[in-house]
């Protein structure tokens, strides 16, 4: 799913959750009233009469209520007037990292250790104060929640508190990524533009022919850099929109890798990195779009070269079985921390912003790789150890050999 649709989904989810939450307070109150009536009927009923515990309607509505609560994407916690938790739905258990059965019957602070949430629940119970705002909750991971506390008046003049939480962690992450991306792209576009502007102005003032030639070369190089970035952006937009026109053909990945490696070899030797291709002699053919697959390999090599210090090595390897072909690009570079590893294929994601600025990464290359590989029915994964290097592996289905 693309980030844009994901963002829309989250907005829909958030709105949906709040609509559900608004109705929920009323439903819970209704549910409690039915339960309360049932108890009263029960206690007043003479012993000889079979217990007329509510109508089947009540029971089914209570079951419906339980099912609704459990399935709700918003987290819901209900706290009794004495401060004990009486209900925790699955979403709340996941958001707060607690086990529902351990939380129920105890004070909220004993399972959900947030002073702020505890304070809001206490205010709802004591004075019926309702609040709704962002709250950062830290357990094993940090979560950004939008939490509403509601007070539900009971018949006996006491109140229950209802906590409704919507997880905005992912949404906040996406917002941050987008902001970072915009600032990164702006920087990437601005620095070549500034250089071009300065050199053009110098040329306009009149420079000697040797300097002029050098300036023109620089201008051409900076322009290429900007074109490459804009093309990356356009590629990704095209890939994500799904309007991809793949021209399928039988492609020998061994030959393709060798070509890609030789196209990068000058750059690698300038950087002092040993770059080599290891390919099987009998070829490894898959059905795919040659240009797109070349872009996959070039992007992976580019990524490896940018993240490997001088003196290191980058190896592109093809291995094949009867049914599958794997392309590995392995480097002895800086590696990726395990917490960053699951995110490297995300659009806009850059592990180290300051490094990316100096090496010219846009945070788009690997996202493009993932899209193209998946458009070929393949898969891509990354393994890495910090300080030791990284391995990116693409798997494709092989073309049956004739």
């Amino acid at each position: 799913m693309s980030s844009a649709t994901e963002a829309v989904d989250y907005v829909v989810l958030t709105i949906g959750a709040f609509l559900a939450a608004a109705g929920l307070a009323a439903l819970v109150a209704a549910w409690r009233r039915t339960a309360g009536e049932r108890v009263r009927v029960d206690s007043q009923a003479p012993l000889e009469i079979p217990i007329p515990v509510g109508t089947p309607n009540d029971e089914s509505s209570s079951r419906r209520m339980d099912a609704l609560l459990e399935a709700l994407p918003a987290g819901v916690i209900i706290v009794a007037p004495d401060g004990r938790v009486t209900a925790v739905n699955a979403s709340a258990a996941a958001m707060f990292g607690i086990a529902a059965e351990r939380a129920i019957g105890r004070a909220l602070i004993e399972s959900v250790r947030s002073y702020e949430l505890d304070r809001r629940v206490a205010a709802a119970l004591a004075d019926g104060v309702e609040e709704s705002s962002e709250l950062t909750f830290i357990a094993a991971t940090e979560r950004r929640l939008h939490v509403s506390t509601r007070a539900i008046s009971r018949g006996d003049g006491k109140r229950e508190a209802l906590v409704i939480a919507v997880d905005r962690t992912r949404m906040v992450e996406l917002e941050t990524m987008r902001r970072d991306f915009v600032s990164n792209v702006s920087h990437e576009l601005r620095s070549p533009l500034t250089a071009i502007k300065i050199m053009t102005e110098t040329l306009q003032d009149g420079a000697d022919p040797t300097a002029a030639k050098e300036f023109l070369e620089n201008i051409a190089r900076e322009t290429d850099r900007m074109i490459a970035l804009v093309e990356d952006l356009l590629d990704l937009a095209r890939l994500e929109s799904g309007r991809l026109d793949l021209r399928f053909d039988s492609v020998d990945l061994s030959a393709l890798i060798r070509d890609a490696v030789s196209s990068q070899s000058t750059r690698a030797s300038k950087l002092g990195i040993r770059l080599e291709a290891v390919t099987p002699s009998n070829g490894a053919a898959i059905a795919g779009d040659r240009d797109m697959l070349t872009q996959v390999v070039v992007n992976l090599l580019d990524n490896a070269l940018r993240n490997t210090p001088s003196g290191g090595a980058v190896t592109a390897r093809v291995s094949s079985t009867d049914s599958a072909v794997a392309v590995d690009v392995e480097d002895t570079g800086i590696g990726i921390a395990s917490d960053a590893l699951p995110h490297v294929f995300e659009r806009f994601y850059v592990v180290d912003r300051s490094r990316a600025k100096s090496t010219g990464g846009t945070g788009l290359g690997l996202a493009i790789v993932k899209h193209i590989v998946e458009a070929h029915g393949g898969s891509v994964e990354a393994q890495s150890e910090l300080g030791r290097g990284s391995l990116f592996r693409c798997r494709f289905g092989a073309v049956a050999r004739r």
């Binding site: 004070a107 004993e110 399972s111």
Partner: protein
């Protein structure tokens, strides 16, 4: 005060300890966040936090002393009250260290950052994890967790030594970095202390549950060795 009342107050006091604990946890988190972003407003927030922490501290101590004086509790209840009296001292110190870090943030905010913080946030995360787990152990009367937490102190100590060494080298190279560098060393020291306080809390929990006082682990940060090392850096004769 009846027996039922006694247990109600005892329970509420235990919950107050957890309230104080969660405030202190958040204070550390914000303190390091504010330091990383040079956020003076956030640092001021933490200083205000400290008043609530102090109020809770007073309430817990008063309740504990009342329970002791009026009820003569025995066995497990007595140990729980004794443990709480100790734990609030550790929590209060941790809160103070969060304030210390906030003060440093405010004084460092006027100068350009020395270097991006890497190991200090790691130390903070580890120390906070230790504190969180020590409070989990307290909340659930779980001695098993309490025994495990202090093992994580080694990692905090290792990071502390790494930060210390790195900053000393920085300052040796550039005397202009001395005021910022020494402030950051203090931050690391506070975080190291926080981890030690979490270890203390675990010891109290073990005593509370098992009834046997036990020293779990005392981290000895080799400051002398680190200082000796800095001498060789500064006077490479």
């Amino acid at each position: 005060m009846g027996r039922e009342n006694f247990h109600r107050i005892l329970n509420e006091t235990q919950q107050d300890v957890l309230r104080m604990g969660s405030l202190v946890e958040e204070a550390i988190n914000r303190a390091v966040d504010a330091l990383g972003r040079s956020d003076v407003a956030l640092a001021d927030d933490i200083l205000r936090f400290d008043d609530i922490i102090d109020d809770l501290n007073v309430r817990i101590e008063t309740n504990c002393l009342n329970l002791l004086a009026l009820q003569q509790p025995m066995a497990s209840d007595l140990r729980t009250i004794a443990a709480m009296l100790d734990i609030v001292i550790d929590l209060e110190r941790i809160g103070d260290h969060a304030c210390d870090i906030a003060q440093i943030t405010k004084s460092l905010a006027e100068e350009p950052p020395l270097k991006p913080l890497i190991d200090i946030p790691r130390m903070a995360a580890k120390a906070r994890e230790m504190l969180r787990e020590s409070l989990d152990a307290f909340a659930n009367h779980d001695a098993a967790i309490a025994h495990l937490v202090p093992q994580k102190d080694d990692e905090v100590d290792r990071l502390y030594r790494a930060v210390f060494k790195e900053l000393i080298e920085f300052m040796a190279r550039d005397p202009k970095a001395i005021s910022r560098g020494s402030n950051l060393i203090l931050v690391a020291l506070y975080l190291e202390r926080i981890a030690d306080h979490a270890t203390n809390i675990c010891e109290r929990v073990v005593y509370m549950v098992e009834g046997v006082p036990k020293k779990l682990k005392r981290s000895v940060v080799e400051i002398n060795r680190a200082v000796a090392h800095s001498d060789t850096l500064l006077n490479p004769s």
